[in-house]
């Protein structure tokens, strides 16, 4: 018999099915031993994250190009089929049981952050007839102050849906493209993931002396 791909747990690691002190178990525990089964293709396969694996990375900067060190970056997105893991999303697309769609990271001292995720799908919404949101990832950033708080969305370059999206197009034309990530061949991981770069620029500081320097 071929050797099993996955190690079998040694005795004494998992609890037994029946533990009488836990009173729900006597009525809910099999009495006969499980049938030993060699691991077949049915055992060594299983559900995986669906979709195109992505590295999304970039830097959090201020308007002078200075990094925002240790910036908290929070993201959320739908799955590859265009469905959010949220009870309010009733779009008829499959939920991916292995994909929750949320992430949180701290940027490093240079403001650099990175997430590994799945490319989100486009999905319909009811804003107007045949309305589809272009693929996007929601981003939440604080920066150093109440005044620098930003929530935004990252889009993918050359998405044909961008031209029809009133949320993307709510941004003045000259600034819109800042919401598009750029394809980053350097950061791709061969045989594993594509990569996009999305730098985020928060409000910078004016060069004014603080009035309490002498206080």
């Amino acid at each position: 018999m071929a050797q099993d791909l996955y190690r079998r747990p040694a005795p004494g690691q998992h609890p037994p099915h029946r533990v009488d002190a836990y009173k729900s178990t006597p009525g809910r525990s099999p009495r006969k031993p499980a049938v030993a089964l060699p691991q077949t293709l049915s055992e060594i396969t299983g559900p995986r994250l669906l979709g195109e694996r992505l590295v999304v990375h970039g830097r959090v900067l201020d308007e002078d190009g200075k990094p925002v060190p240790k910036a908290l970056v929070e993201i959320w997105q739908c799955n590859a089929a265009g469905r959010y893991h949220h009870p309010g999303d009733q779009h008829d697309a499959p939920l991916d049981p292995n994909f929750y769609g949320g992430g949180r990271a701290r940027a490093d001292d240079e403001g650099a952050y990175q997430f590994v995720t799945i490319k989100p799908g486009a999905y319909p919404w009811k804003n107007h007839h045949n309305a589809w949101r272009p693929a996007h990832i929601h981003f939440s950033l604080f920066g150093p102050a109440f005044a620098t708080r930003l929530i935004t969305q990252m889009y993918f370059p050359n998405d044909p849906l961008l031209a029809f999206d009133p949320i993307y197009n709510s941004v003045p034309e000259g600034a819109r493209s800042r919401l598009q990530a750029s394809f980053d061949l350097e950061a791709t991981r061969p045989e594993w993931a594509l990569a996009y770069r999305f730098d985020i620029v928060l409000r910078g500081r004016n060069a004014i002396p603080m009035e309490d320097e002498h206080g």
Binding site: G101, G103, H138, S140, P144, L150, I151, T152, G215
Partner: protein, 192 residues
């Protein structure tokens, strides 16, 4: 890229799992100094309808009037365990609830205690929701506070609209503030 400010976009309706589930709306663990207060902020749209998918964030000084932030360099006590930040989503009644301590006064416009005087105790509020493309910033002041009369920020506001910033105590002692995004009772929002 990176050739200017990153534009703002709406939070959308599906932020809960990431932004809210791991945050507390209770800002002040036991032992934090100050008067314990509860806040109920109710969000309504221009028609007066409840907004049940909004996100509210608050930022405040502690009871001594000290912000837990490096820009606040005054010699006032910081309280262990009190950051001053809270996040909560609005519920089916449009209400987001917080438990915290009543903040102390903070200086105007910024910097030291000398110079510009003090602002009345207040809580800074950020409003996000589906359909709100840019963060809306407002403030919660406490109705009946004698310091309101001299507050330099309230003086910037049309007297007829100042009431939109005043939380009032209900029968249970909860400080309640309706926030109206538009409509006849539109809340005063600030561009700070």
């Amino acid at each position: 890229m990176a050739d200017g400010l990153t534009p703002s976009q709406t939070i959308g309706p599906f932020y809960w799992g990431t932004l809210v589930s791991s945050y507390r709306a209770d800002l002040a663990p036991l032992g934090v100094a100050g008067e314990r207060i509860e806040l109920a902020l109710t969000l309504r749209d221009a028609e007066g309808a409840i907004i049940s998918d909004g996100l509210l964030e608050i930022w405040q000084a502690n009871s001594h009037g000290r912000y837990n932030h490096p820009e606040d360099r005054r010699n006032l006590p910081l309280d262990a365990g009190f950051e001053g930040f809270g996040r909560a989503s609005t519920d089916a009644t449009g209400t987001a609830r917080f438990a915290t301590v009543r903040p102390g006064p903070v200086p105007w416009p910024h910097g030291g205690m000398q110079g510009g005087g003090l602002q009345a105790p207040h809580i800074n509020v950020s409003v996000f929701a589906r359909g709100v493309l840019n963060r809306l910033a407002t403030r919660l002041y406490f109705d009946g506070d004698p310091a309101l009369a001299g507050d330099p920020v309230l003086k910037l506001v049309d007297p007829a609209r100042r009431g939109t910033l005043l939380a009032k105590r209900d029968a249970e002692g909860v400080w309640c503030l309706p926030i109206h995004i538009g409509g006849a009772h539109e809340t005063v929002f600030f561009d700070g």
